[in-house]
């Protein structure tokens, strides 16, 4: 009997495809954000409210991922930002190969920012590098204060957590600060941001500022 050493990550095929994506995005000067979160956390709603402002200073496209329907891509297009929809059938996450296939359809030379809204799922998408620059996980206040503790891999695997539907906090007896603290218990360096209605106005100013800062930081580091 012989033993053959392999020593390879089970995700190596996707990781290689993701690195190819990373190189392609870099070549075209496109900053890429992978947005993940529970189904119904408010990912698409967040995008509907930040895109109108962001598109004033950046050329943006969105890749939407869902099991079925074009609904989310349609909602994004209403903001004036082009969007393509991936329907995974039963697939619970997007992978690097799917993104590569869509990116070529998006006029990469006319883009500064690509936002990928992943399939609603707090488990699987985290394991799949898409070649992104930045990851954001969206959790909504009604999901409960201890949500971050229940899904530690999602919190560990992200750069920022966005707590949405902050206006519902009093109705569901959730303290957003506690949810933020639980996120930092898992991942002390994670950035926690908030989004929600104040009166009739959806406030996601913190999210917009964070994205702008990250894009600027990358631009500066590319110059060095």
């Amino acid at each position: 009997m012989e033993n053959l050493k392999i020593e390879e990550d089970i995700f190596s095929l996707n990781n290689q495809a993701a690195q190819k994506n990373r190189d392609t995005f870099q070549q075209h000067g496109v900053f890429v954000i992978n947005i993940m979160g529970s189904p119904g956390a408010g990912k698409t709603t967040l995008l509907e409210h930040i895109l109108p402002q962001l598109k004033q200073s950046h050329r943006i496209a969105v890749i939407e991922g869902d099991l079925a329907t074009e609904n989310d891509a349609c909602r994004i297009r209403q903001t004036g930002v082009p969007a393509v929809q991936i329907n995974t059938g039963g697939g619970c996450h997007l992978d690097a190969t799917m993104i590569a296939a869509q990116f070529s359809k998006l006029h990469p030379d006319k883009l500064d920012l690509l936002i990928i809204e992943n399939v609603g799922n707090l488990v699987c998408p985290i394991s799949f590098d898409l070649g992104e620059d930045l990851r954001m996980v969206i959790l909504s206040i009604p999901e409960g204060e201890d949500k971050p503790l229940k899904y530690p891999s999602a919190i560990l695997g992200t750069d920022a957590v966005v707590l949405t539907k902050t206006d519902l906090a009093p109705f569901v007896d959730v303290n957003p600060k506690t949810m933020a603290n639980h996120s930092m218990t898992i991942h002390p360096k994670v950035t926690v941001l908030y989004a929600g209605k104040e009166g009739n106005v959806y406030n996601a100013a913190g999210v917009i500022a964070y994205i702008r800062d990250k894009m600027e930081a990358k631009k500066q580091s590319n110059k060095v």
Partner: protein
């Protein structure tokens, strides 16, 4: 987690690995699964058994070893094992860490007969 899809990856990687080797029959595939890897070992074993395998993988056993979590303190450099959150350095109490081990799934090796 979609353990069945992982089995497809596993077999593809194993097939690539044995390409230039005189493999008549693979008898075992050794996998190490980190405790933070987001998979259930039972589900992996079930998915492996259910996954249709052709020669030389038919009949190969899947041997899974669970990898404990090892963190490295970003403040003082101490490496320490962890079992649950929060991860706190036993030397300086810092909560800033990087994971050295335990958050991935590695195909370590396979056994075969020539």
């Amino acid at each position: 987690m979609h353990e069945t899809a992982l089995m497809e990856n596993l077999i593809r990687i194993a097939e690539k690995a044995i390409k230039n080797h005189p493999v008549k029959q693979v008898t075992a595939i050794r996998l190490s699964v980190g405790k933070l890897a987001n998979v259930m070992i039972d589900a992996l074993e079930f998915a492996y058994d259910a996954y249709p395998k052709s020669d030389p993988f038919k009949g190969a056993k899947l041997i899974i070893c669970e990898t404990p979590i090892l963190a490295k303190c970003e403040t003082c450099g101490k490496e320490y094992p962890v079992k649950q959150f929060p991860f706190v350095c036993p030397v300086c109490q810092s909560r800033y860490y990087t994971i050295l081990q335990g958050d991935d799934i590695y195909i370590e090796s396979l056994d075969y007969e020539t």
